[in-house]
């Protein structure tokens, strides 16, 4: 079993569905962070069988909307002085801005760079969103 030391201050993204850790790492642009980041994959888990974990030291701000879109099973632990001071359970976001394009090719958000694609949750079960501008529904699957 690989051992990774606990962190003094930062965040731990825990209970990531096995296989989605790398996607989260990429989508949240973690390679560009100027601080230590550890991505653990296929870690044994009593509850999940296997899971991925990401630890980031000296960094506590994270895009929970994007995380929620990728994996709602995730828990984010905020660490201060080696203790968990906040536990964030993720849910699918109700409002989303700028995280994915509108699926309607005729939508203004796909041609006018000034406009940020903005969505409201339409159906949680199949992760679909209504566009604020054209009102078309986009099914979201972050890859």
């Amino acid at each position: 079993m690989i051992e990774v030391a606990s962190i003094r201050r930062g965040l731990v993204v825990d209970h990531i569905t096995a296989g989605k850790g790398l996607l989260i790492f990429n989508k949240l642009n973690m390679a560009s962070l100027n601080c230590p980041v550890v991505l653990l994959m296929n870690v044994p888990s009593q509850r999940m069988g296997r899971k991925d974990i990401i630890k980031v030291e000296n960094f506590t701000e994270i895009d929970t909307a994007m995380l929620g879109l990728i994996d709602t099973k995730v828990t984010v632990n905020i660490i201060e002085n080696e203790h968990v001071v906040e536990k964030i359970k993720l849910a699918i976001p109700h409002e989303v801005k700028g995280l994915f394009p509108c699926g309607n090719p005729r939508c203004v958000t796909n041609i006018d760079a000034y406009v940020t694609p903005t969505f409201h949750l339409h159906d949680e079960a199949n992760c679909s969103y209504t566009c604020e501008y054209c009102e078309e529904i986009t099914k979201v699957e972050i890859r």
Partner: protein, 311 residues
């Protein structure tokens, strides 16, 4: 108390039923007493921002403002605007808002007028955005129904033709659904049925009864209003599909014999061949009066937005 001063109109849902009724009532009054309103907008300017060609809507808005004593400026296709140079909608509207008091925008991109409204200091009216919304056509339809039927609730309404892409149908059916008691008869080829999402919305949110037909004759005897639409060539990817479907739903004098004596035939125009010319002489055909009423309802809307409606 209805207050539309400075408000945008992007979708019919931006207006409450009371606001719709107030606009329609003022439009009716303007039609009856046109001379009383001839100076109402003296000194006001309407900007017509038409990023794609539209004769009817543009001229209807221009006529509305001119009939109230105001002035107009604008462009009628994207190539003669700064959009051709790649300017964003936000930049265009921030500049043009200082040149006029109210603006109507038609744009091929769905949602474009909403973008404009987010950056505009003057009221923006959606004059049609792609296949999305066309709220002043809906107001035009409603003032026509008010004129010829006298109520907007408990109606039997048939929509015929292209129900899949027809934005006028989508806007009107959703607005009529907000009034109680109406039933909708949907007549279209299978390829052009009302989108499933809209059907679900109408039945789940408003509890509407929808009845679908493949032949116009089946619906005609039951309805107070027959709303005809053109099967638009530009909505098809395939020429063969267009040719196969375009004549499917043509209203002629024989079919009119099946309809109630008090039924009205509406059409957002332009018509191609879906209503035979012989129907024009039938007193139940009100589509040209509908176009005229559109001017008055647009006058009423702008008067409210400009804060001069009660003068």
């Amino acid at each position: 108390m209805v207050n539309l001063v400075g408000r945008h109109l992007i979708s019919p849902n931006d207006l409450s039923l009371e606001e719709i009724s107030t606009i329609v009532a003022l439009g009716q009054n303007m039609k009856r007493n046109r001379a009383d309103y001839a100076e109402l907008c003296r000194g006001k300017i309407l900007a017509t921002l038409f990023y794609e060609p539209s004769t009817r809507t543009k001229l209807s808005f221009e006529s509305a403002m001119l009939r109230m004593g105001g002035s107009i400026l604008g462009f009628s296709d994207a190539s003669s605007s700064s959009a051709a140079k790649g300017e964003s909608i936000a930049d265009t509207i921030r500049v043009l808002a200082s040149y006029a008091d109210v603006a109507v925008m038609r744009h091929p991109r769905e949602g474009a007028p909403k973008v404009a409204s987010e950056y505009s200091t003057i009221p923006i009216i959606n004059g049609g955005d792609g296949g999305h919304q066309h709220p002043t056509q809906t107001l035009t339809d409603l003032i026509t129904i008010d004129t010829y039927i006298g109520r907007m609730e408990n109606l039997e309404v048939a929509f015929c033709g292209d129900l899949k892409y027809g934005r006028t149908v989508h806007s009107l059916i959703e607005t009529l659904a907000r009034f109680p008691g109406s039933r909708f008869h949907l007549v279209s080829p299978e390829e052009l049925v009302l989108p499933r999402r809209l059907k679900e919305h109408l039945t789940k949110i408003y509890g509407c009864e929808l009845i679908e037909y493949r032949r116009m004759e089946e619906a005609l005897p039951h309805v107070d209003i027959l709303y005809m639409t053109r099967i638009q060539k530009e909505r098809f990817f395939n020429e063969a599909d267009y040719l196969r479907l375009k004549n499917s739903f043509i209203l002629d004098a024989d079919k009119m014999k099946l309809a109630k004596q008090k039924m009205i035939v509406m059409h957002p125009l332009p018509r191609v061949n879906e209503i035979a010319y012989e129907v024009d002489d039938d007193p139940r055909a009100v589509y040209f009066q509908q176009a005229e009423l559109g001017v008055y309802v647009r006058m009423a809307l702008m008067a409210h937005q400009l804060g001069v409606a009660n003068q």
